[in-house]
Amino acid sequence: MKELGRLTYFLGLEVHYHHEGVFLNQQKYIQDLVQLAGLTNATPVDTPMEVNVKYRRDEGDHLDDPTQYRKLVGSLIYVTITRPNISFVVRTVSMFMQSPRHFQLSAVQRIIRYLLGTLKRGLFFPVGSSIKLQAYSDDN
């Protein structure tokens, strides 16, 4: 067995050490995802999902290539590791994996454009934080 030192990169997950804590993000993984979606030069948006839009199963035309949609959504599920704020919208678009349509693809592209504008963002775990466990639960 070989000692490889501190963990810095593992399966797309980047680990940054800081005197105030540990920071996790997936900048490179997201950049690759943006490229896969062909949105490198798209305009970033500042929220992952439009407000008050209903996504229905039978709206708009079917996609010619559902595999691309599934690839993108699959990758987005992986991105929720360090970006929990997109969990809700990713869950919404993953309901349409079976027969995706253009309308839903545009929602996926919006999430990716949101990520494009916030590439460096990630989760921060401060040192010296208390070990008190707290939970929040909600339903809609």
């Binding site: 919208v89 460096k120 008190k132 466990l133 939970a135 639960s137 909600d138 339903d139």
Partner: protein, 136 residues
């Protein structure tokens, strides 16, 4: 769920059964959260950080909190499966406590609906979801 200030566990799920009321839906969500709490507390204990206080489970529906905290028979909850009621036992054994949190500072809001930019950004800070600090 937070350990101190750090976000360590979360879940966003489409509900798997139809609920007859928002209270019932909320109660089911709390029960699921409660199972996660019990597991996390077990993990912490195994790591040598045995929690001494009950874990706070914040919810924004007072009726759901009532159902969990008050083990009397409720006509409107007779159809909820027994496994959901494990939360009552956890509350009884002081594993969890059920404070009410107003919807405006309900952090779990971000996992349940689409939000305006302002509200979205407000909750991001609470989740410790930040940009890479410059000094790294």
């Amino acid at each position: 769920m937070f350990l101190g200030n750090a976000l360590i566990s979360w879940k966003c799920k489409k509900r798997d059964s139809v609920s007859k009321s928002s209270t019932e839906a909320e109660y089911r969500a709390m029960s699921a959260a409660c199972s996660e709490i019990i597991w996390l507390r077990g993990l912490l204990t195994e790591l040598g950080f045995s929690p001494e206080q009950p874990t706070l489970l914040h919810a924004d529906n007072t009726s759901a909190i009532q159902i969990a905290a008050n083990p009397v028979y409720h006509e409107r909850t007779k159809h909820i499966e027994v496994d959901c009621h494990s939360i009552r036992e956890a509350y009884d054994r002081r594993i969890i406590n059920l404070p009410h949190v107003s919807t405006s500072i309900q952090i779990a809001d971000i996992f349940t609906k689409s939000l305006t930019r302002q509200r979205h950004n407000f909750l991001l800070g609470k989740l410790m979801l930040v940009d890479l600090p410059a000094s790294i």
